[in-house]
């Protein structure tokens, strides 16, 4: 019998008092695509980081091709034919693709032309399309990911680990990635893919391994399982996978945006002539490739971004319409427009890493309270509520949020915004990187807000979710509205097409 490509036996890893992986036994075979499923903080990435040499296991043994190995550094991982494509790309912006590929390879003469030639060779073999002389900062997310994969293949990796590779891709790019993964599988490589998206798990993988709270629950054949069963294994109990979308009741225009144009600080137009209406009692989804102007749009409405031209008319319930352009962010917030933006590095905007949950809750209410003293009681109660309701995993509510896992950081952020009971709730990437269970908690919260008559603006990445959750979907492309579609009747393909084209102008 052939040896397993990779096998974990009794792997345990602890961070201080937190056990990230507990006695994990797991294997993957050559020519197989394995999905690694689990909630946030279930230890998927930690487990893979041990294989990639970023962390070292405290107990247990890793076997590569049947032989026990000790992987003490990323270099050891390469030497054993293991390559990891991290969620946050490990690329150097000011280097070209070839220079990035050449990093860490010490054999032979240093000749970038040679490297470029080999890169082209790999591209032809697996069907990539990359210019080796192109600088990383000029590349799209999908191209960067391709460079990451080439880097790993260049080193002759037999096992590839992809950490949430589709989180940042359009549907078209995702299907391209999947076909490449299949080519690599036929080439005899073992592939481990970490993902939260169950439909992708079902589509691409041969086997699924489920982790829960750091323990390996089961490995099942994809053909013999279904999303419902997988979710139950992941969460440990039955979970409702449907979003209870009700028809909007009596939608009234809440935000009327017309001809909005914005530039960033470099003078580049980020939003061009954007017009739409967000209705109360309705969820308006916003789709688009990352960086198409989603962030600028929300920031413009929140008063954080300077507006070149256009108007934003806000009509609160039972009050006269008012112009928001020109008002300070504070005034806009007081009027009831809330913004929950989850940036790529979750702490970048909205939370202070060194403060606990209470302190972060206070950021919304610092100007309240009597006299020169701030009110601690309110935020403390709010923090306790968010902690309990969204099941934030933290030792105590004053524990610095920087030290929480990504999903938990996000719960704190979104929980705080919803708690202000706004009449317009804008959220961007609210479920970015969150596990199924928590995602659905957040979707339910959004639906709840909608039923209360709030106008919800939901910028999302997962088109399946947008289609299920939203009432209407606005698609942005290059800062322009390329279409507004009815979420109940449209298809993923239609949105995907709109995401890459604006008024007949095709983008590659």
């Amino acid at each position: 019998m052939e040896n397993h490509a990779i096998e974990f036996r009794g792997i345990t890893k602890r961070f201080g008092s937190v056990t990230a992986n507990n006695n994990v036994d797991l294997y993957v075979d050559k020519g197989t695509i394995m999905s690694l499923l689990g909630e946030n903080g279930s230890g998927k990435t930690t487990l893979m980081n041990m294989l990639a040499g970023i962390y070292m296991p405290d107990e247990g043994q890793i076997y590569v091709d049947g032989k026990p190995v000790s992987i003490l550094s990323p270099k050891d991982a390469f030497d054993n034919g293991v390559g990891m494509i991290h969620q946050h790309f490990k690329l150097i912006d000011v280097f070209t693709a070839a220079e990035n590929v050449a990093l860490g390879i010490n054999e032979g003469k240093y000749d970038l032309k040679d490297v470029a030639a080999k890169v082209t060779e790999i591209c032809n073999k697996y069907g990539f399309d990359i210019d080796p002389a192109k600088k990383i900062y000029d590349m799209s997310v999908s191209e960067k990911q391709t460079v990451e994969i080439i880097k790993v293949l260049y080193r002759g990796a037999n096992t590839l680990i992809l950490d949430e590779p589709t989180a940042v891709l359009t549907p078209q790019e995702t299907s391209k990635l999947f076909s490449i993964m299949k080519t690599m599988k036929e080439d005899g490589k073992a592939i481990i893919i970490i993902t939260h998206k169950l439909n992708e798990v079902m589509e691409i993988s041969d086997v699924v391994a489920v982790l829960r709270k750091g323990e390996h629950i089961a490995t099942v054949k994809t053909s013999e399982t279904n999303p419902q069963q997988l979710t139950e294994m992941m969460v440990g109990r039955a979970v409702e996978l449907d979003i209870a979308r009700k028809d909007p009741v009596n939608p009234v225009p809440r935000l009327t945006i017309s001809n909005l144009t914005c530039r960033n600080s470099d003078g580049v137009v980020k939003l061009n002539n954007v017009s739409f209406v967000a209705n109360g009692g309705e969820i308006l989804g916003i789709a688009g490739i990352a960086g198409s102007g989603q962030k600028e749009l929300l920031e413009a409405v929140a008063g954080l971004n300077k507006i070149d031209s256009g108007s934003i008319i806000y009509t609160p319930e039972g009050k006269e319409p008012a112009e928001l352009v020109g008002l300070s962010p504070m005034k806009i917030k007081e009027a009831g427009v809330a913004l929950a933006f989850v940036p790529e590095d979750r702490l970048g905007m909205g939370l202070v890493g060194g403060m606990g949950m209470t302190g972060n809750m206070m950021l919304r209410s610092w100007n309240k309270g009597k006299g020169p003293f701030i009110d601690r009681k309110g935020p403390e109660k709010l923090a306790a509520d968010v902690f309990e309701f969204l099941e934030v995993k933290t030792p105590h509510i004053d524990y610095p949020v920087r030290k929480l896992s990504g999903g938990n950081v996000q719960k704190v952020l979104v929980g705080r915004e919803i708690a202000t009971s706004p009449s317009v709730l804008m959220s961007a990437y609210a479920v970015r990187g969150l596990d199924i269970n928590t995602s659905y908690v957040i979707y339910d919260l959004m639906c709840e807000q909608k039923e209360k008559g709030t106008a919800v603006v939901f910028v999302g990445e997962d088109l399946d979710v947008l289609l299920q959750l939203c009432d209407r979907i606005l698609v942005l492309c290059g800062g322009e509205v390329s279409g507004i579609v009815d979420a109940r009747t449209t298809t993923k393909e239609e949105i995907g097409l709109l995401m890459t084209s604006v008024g007949g102008k095709e983008e590659n």
């Binding site: 490990k90 690329l91 150097i92 000011v94 860490g104």
Partner: protein, 328 residues
Amino acid sequence: MNINIIALIRAAVLNGTPLLFGTSGEILTEKSGSLNLGVEGLMYMGGAFGLMGVFYYDRAAGAGANAFVAIMIAILCSLLAGMAGSLIFSFLTITLRANQNVTGLALTIFGTGLGQFVGEQMRIKVGGNVAISNGLKVVFADGVFPKAMQEIPVIGPLLFSYNIFVYIGIVIAAVMAYIMAKTRKGLYLKAVGESPSTADAAGINVTRYKYFATVLGGGISAVGGMVYTMTIAGTVWNHTGLAGEGWIAVALVIFCLWKPLNAIWGSILFGGLMIMYIRVPIAFIPSQIYKIIPYIVTAVVLVIVSLRQKKEDQPPASLGLPYFREER
């Protein structure tokens, strides 16, 4: 007038040479992501220890002192002093991950103090100015090329009339530029400075690169201090002579956009700007204003570079940040 300009350029080159060492060393350091603000201290240490080495060699060898040995001792003493200083910095910031700004400022205070202590101690011991015998003095100040070459009109004084350190400095900067642009080690060094986690994931030993670049860079910077005391200050210890050199070197790193080749002409320009107030006095401009021109130029360059947003001209992306692999 013609002669004046040549003299001015010569003075600029001579004045810029300590800066060239200081800047080249700091570029090497910063390319690895370490922001060592202790250059001022390192140059003081280099100046004092370099002088000390030659001073005692001079006393021991007497009339039989050898020019080559004296120069080697000067370079070695200052280099080692600088390396020792930046080793402390490296241990604190790379291994213990202390704040680089604070540590660098502490190193400036420490280095200035130590340099003063050593220099003043020597001065008191000999009861006057620390100076070495005239025979050795000329070794440091005189041109290395034959007299005939130095006397070629215009080209001679402009290109061939300098002391040996001018040429050593240019060679160091050129070699550094070559290594960074054309070799694997240079690529890895830049990678470490841009994104240590990426370099680490690629199997590059981040800690070793950071230590190497920071320690050697500090040593090269310190040689600049020695060059100042041995050439410009005329081998005499003067406790205010070096003041500000290190800070201008730090500013010059920014001015040069972290490129060693730019450091060559940049240091000549700054060397010129520093002595303009003596050479080309303009009656209605107070010398104090004149002296701050290098800093104003740096500020202007910084503004222009920030506005242009050209990726290649930006500081190394991880500059000033500690790196810890298991940080989450």
